[in-house]
């Protein structure tokens, strides 16, 4: 027994010496990056990723914002911001269907997935030998900052992210300070899709739309909606009587004139006063740094009196 422990001791010592020697002899290599992703998977990169495929518009926006735009070699069909992203190879994504062949042939060292991707897709890519990081949707602004930091780490841009988050945080604080003293909180209806004006789609509690409207000193009339997204009946809308209507579906051609002309809508305060404002839905539906742009834009619309 004693002999065995002695042997073990010698072996351990030997091993330590060996490890020390080899590590001393080799040039310092970048330390591997290990992070746990949104699915609870442990993802390890030998070095910051240089060939990245983004599977969601929000991810593409984050990658560019943290300064990793040059490292993006593939993007999903819907990534249209910033403009430079349009020039990058699309890997599909409409109907939730990605082109795995294309992804594999790009030989990425990192695929940045998002919550619009299914765990099955992550597994399939993993089986193809691709490193995937699944970036979970943030539920609030600090969560979005945390996502920026994760992407910064994965891509080797941590320093830029620190500066970016600082400036974003300052802008949020600035808004909070301004809004703190408002006396009126306008009621806001955010229209996602008004194809059927009798029950337009809108966003309820738990969405960034709802949060940002509150942060900007407003009240989302659909906050009590059961579930994050849903159709509000026109009757409920008449009762809620919003002061402002935001057209998140402006990009699909909905205009203030069309809304005013909808039968029965003329009884709504916002229609009477002409407070129907087109809104860039991409800034609120994609959980990336442009959420802060959206917040500032909302303050401008909801409280024009604040300078």
């Amino acid at each position: 027994m004693k002999r065995l422990s002695q042997l073990l001791l010698v072996l351990t010592l030997l091993a330590t010496v060996l490890v020390a020697c080899t590590s001393g002899a080799q040039p310092p290599s970048p330390s591997p990056i290990t992070l746990t992703d949104g699915l609870g998977r442990e993802v390890t990169l030998a070095a910051p990723a240089q060939l990245i495929v983004s599977l969601a518009p929000s991810n593409t926006e984050i990658l560019y914002a943290v300064g990793a735009g040059d490292q993006v070699v593939g993007r999903d069909e819907f990534s249209n911001y910033p403009e430079a992203a349009a020039a990058i190879q699309s890997v599909g994504g409409s109907m939730g269907d990605y082109n795995f062949e294309q992804i594999v042939s790009l030989k990425p060292d990192l695929v940045l997935a998002a919550e619009i991707n299914t765990p099955e897709q992550v597994k399939a890519l993993e089986d193809l030998g691709v490193t995937v990081y699944y970036l979970k949707n943030p539920t609030n602004i600090p969560g979005m900052f945390a996502n920026l930091e994760i992407v910064g780490q994965l891509t080797g841009h941590s320093a830029e992210v620190t500066a970016l988050v600082d400036s974003l945080r300052q802008r949020v604080t600035g808004v909070e300070a301004k809004v703190a003293n408002v006396t009126v909180t306008p009621r806001v209806f955010y229209e996602l899709d008004g194809t059927d004006p009798a029950k337009p789609w809108t966003a309820g509690a738990g969405t960034f739309i709802d949060q940002l409207i509150s942060m900007a000193g407003g009240e989302n009339v659909a906050a009590s909606l059961d579930g994050s997204w849903g159709q509000l009946s026109q009757e409920a809308l008449l009762v809620a009587n919003p002061d402002i209507i935001l057209l998140g579906d402006a990009a699909y051609g909905t205009t203030a004139e069309q809304v005013s002309a909808r039968p029965g809508w003329d009884a709504i305060q916002a229609v009477k006063t002409g407070q129907i404002v087109p809104f860039n839905d991409d800034t609120v539906s994609r959980p990336g740094p442009r959420l802060v742009d959206a917040l500032e834009e909302l303050v401008r619309i909801l409280h024009p009196e604040l300078k």
């Binding site: 409409s94 062949e101 594999v104 099955e120 992550v122 399939a124 193809l128």
Partner: protein, 339 residues
């Protein structure tokens, strides 16, 4: 001479299947030349990383095989059901397996599963179980004592299917975030890549289709009507039970991994009947080959029509299959093609 006449349709069908299979392996969003194919082959088993090899063996080949198996399963079950119910509108989904599977799949999608093997297989498992359960309910509702009247089965199938479809729509509206995924699944197409679905489907496919193939003669006798068949010594209810069990197993397994692909199970039996006549001993095996070839062809179209975007294959089978079917129908110039 006689042998040649019997063998010819098989030869032609196998030729079509080989052509479709080869196209399915060669055509894709990333162009692969014949040389890439050989390079991929030579890299098999070696540690060298080879993109062409990965695309071929981890993406295209398993997909080609899965699609072929699903096509065969749907067409084989469709042929058996058309014979069993003596109804030209019968398809493998007639007594509820697809609407049940759809309900199970969409329900599973509305739940957040953990990233484990079980969680990753939740959707196909739920689809499979719920598809079979739906058929079992229809079966129980349709049964009258020992008898199992075909009209009862069809009516109960339609009613239970509507119920399940309504529940599915409700779930889809509630879980609006997963709407696209659910819709894509319901329109059909290979939803999982790799060899896992092929291996999971294989046992049900072999057993189910194996059973169906032994019922060619029984289906021929059934065409005289239940009473006649019974008098000719055919245990009608037992035959019906076996065919339903075998077709449901096969279809439920196929649907679990490929979603609800319409039309293949409906038109292949008709096309074959027009071409080679109503003998189920030949219709059944030929429908397996024909179904595989047709679905492979549709899948190739789904990949190239709007490339690099992929269409759900269910849309293509109906869009391309319906005109093709009508063309075959018109060409046959038969006043009553159902015979």
């Amino acid at each position: 001479m006689e042998l040649k006449r019997t063998a010819r349709p098989y030869g032609l069908a196998l030729l079509a299947l080989s052509a479709a299979g080869l196209l399915s392996i060669l055509v894709g969003s990333v162009p692969l030349s014949f040389k890439d194919l050989l390079d991929g082959l030579s890299s098999l088993g070696s540690e060298v990383e080879n993109t062409a090899g990965t695309i071929l063996f981890s993406l295209r080949l398993p997909r080609t095989i899965l699609i072929a198996m699903v096509g065969a399963a749907l067409a084989g079950s469709g042929t058996a059901y058309q014979g069993l119910f003596r109804n030209p509108l019968a398809d493998p989904y007639l007594i509820g397996v697809a609407s049940g599977a759809g309900l199970g799949a969409v329900a599973a999608m509305s739940i957040h599963w953990s990233y484990t093997t079980l969680g990753l297989l939740a959707v196909p498992l739920a689809a499979f179980i719920s598809g079979l359960a739906t058929v079992a309910i229809v079966y129980a509702l349709a049964r009258v004592g020992q008898a199992l009247p075909a009209s009862n089965l069809i009516l109960a199938g339609v009613a239970v299917s509507s119920f399940a479809t309504a529940l599915t729509s409700f779930l889809m509206l509630r879980a609006s975030g997963e709407l696209r995924r659910a819709l894509a699944w319901l329109l059909g197409g290979a939803t999982m890549s790799g060899w896992q679905p092929v291996l999971a489907l294989l046992p049900y496919w072999v057993v189910g289709l194996g059973i169906l193939l032994t019922f060619g003669h029984a289906l021929n006798v059934l065409q005289f009507g239940d009473e006649q068949a019974q008098q000719l010594g055919l245990p009608v209810n037992r035959v019906r039970r076996w065919i339903i069990v075998a077709a449901s197993l096969t279809t439920a397994a196929a649907v679990s991994f490929a979603g609800i692909i319409g039309f293949v199970g409906l038109i292949i039996p008709h096309i074959l009947r027009l071409l080679i006549g109503p003998d189920y001993r030949r219709l059944l095996p030929l429908s397996l080959i024909g179904g595989a070839a047709l679905l492979l062809g549709a899948d190739v179209l789904a990949r190239v029509l709007l490339a690099p975007q992929e269409l759900p294959v269910g849309i293509v089978t109906a869009l391309a299959g319906a005109p093709f079917f009508l063309w075959v129908l018109r060409r046959s110039r038969q006043a009553n093609f159902w015979s």
